[in-house]
Amino acid sequence: MKTDDLIKALDADARSKAMPLRSAWWLAAGVAVVVAAVVFMMTIGPRPDFMAAAHTIRFLSKFVFTIVLAISAFALIRALSTPGATTGRAMVAMIIAPLLVAVAVVLELFMVPQALWSTRMIGSNMMICMSFIPLIGIGPLAIFLWMLRYGAPTRPVLAGAVAGLLAGGLAATFYAAHCFDDSPLFVATWYTIAIAALALLGALGGRFFVRW
């Protein structure tokens, strides 16, 4: 088939429509939030003293970390799924969440006596943390990987990893409402491991599933 012949066929198909990628991303984000919320409420749900905890800075700081991570990952993944889009600024913005955690860790180390550091870090439910963040995040990750297929990422492995970070940030936001360990030392350790697992899974998905 000559290239001119191919163009005839493409031109004849000009009227076929698909939802613009930008709108599709918002739709996918909405569905992912609902999926994560349903899994969260049906399994562990928020902690009983949620309202009281909401007055403590440590409890609230967890949401700042996870929501900042989710927002920056969402901005980056939208750029990564669009060919030719500039990603520099969105890439740099990915440092904000880890930076905030690092600052919180340093403050915590100053405020808490050294004897308590390891207790705070190990916390009371790290196994629940490391199982439920991936469990809540797996549905959103599948949605985001599917969205990458709908888009056109020229760096699929990186885009897949960012899909994992986005799913991780979203899942951790819900999980934080259940988790009794509010110390930044706990968050910096176990949340990070759980989110990194999703990022790794996302990178693998990007490698083998996101082809176009």
Binding site: T3, D11, P20, L21, T82, P83, A152, R211
Partner: protein, 183 residues
């Protein structure tokens, strides 16, 4: 690529997405020439047929045109897709060399000709279900309109459009997955 080109091509693409077939044909022809120039400059050692990459890129542009933001310049988007498809073609060639030595020997023995039947897209076309394959061939190689194709096969124009769209999407998908022959 001058700023004037960019503005004109963006305008054509916006019109095309709004359903203007004439603008789309114009856009595709001009883009094809630009991609051909780009790909020929990049392929210096041979082995990869530039025209195969041009065709793959055009198909990807077509099935992924919803990823273009209409307020962004269109050429960076086009070249990013072309670069991606070119790298894909190089990678595939590397893999073929590892797997199949006979294939390479044969390639060297043959003089470079414009054997249209050897195009990747023809092999992908052959792998389509018969109904899609005949519609895509009628509209492309035979140059028939949607209406003429509908009359030829005795089906509705809608059915022609659906088969054409599915056929093109399937070919693009095969390219993306590195599958070129019949399975």
């Amino acid at each position: 690529m001058s700023g004037k080109d960019e503005a004109e091509l963006s305008r054509l693409m916006r019109a095309a997405i709004a359903g203007d077939e004439k603008a789309y044909a114009d856009f595709l022809h001009r883009i094809a020439a630009l991609i051909r120039g780009f790909v020929r400059r990049k392929i210096v050692h041979g082995g990869v047929d530039p025209e195969d990459v041009v065709q793959e890129t055009l198909l990807a542009i077509h099935v992924k045109r919803h990823t273009w933001r209409q307020d962004a310049p269109v050429l960076p988007w086009v070249y990013a897709i072309a670069r991606f498809k070119l790298i894909d073609a190089f990678r595939r060639r590397g893999r073929r060399i590892e797997i199949d030595v006979d294939d390479i020997a044969e390639t060297f023995a043959e003089p470079e000709t414009d054997t249209v039947s050897e195009r990747d897209i023809n092999r992908a076309l052959d792998g389509l279900p018969p109904a899609q394959r005949s519609v895509v061939s009628a509209v492309s190689v035979e140059g028939r309109s949607i209406g003429e194709t509908a009359a030829k096969f005795g089906i509705s124009e809608t059915a022609v459009r659906v088969s054409l769209h599915r056929g093109l999407t399937a070919i693009a998908k095969r390219f993306g997955q590195g599958r070129f022959g019949r399975e």
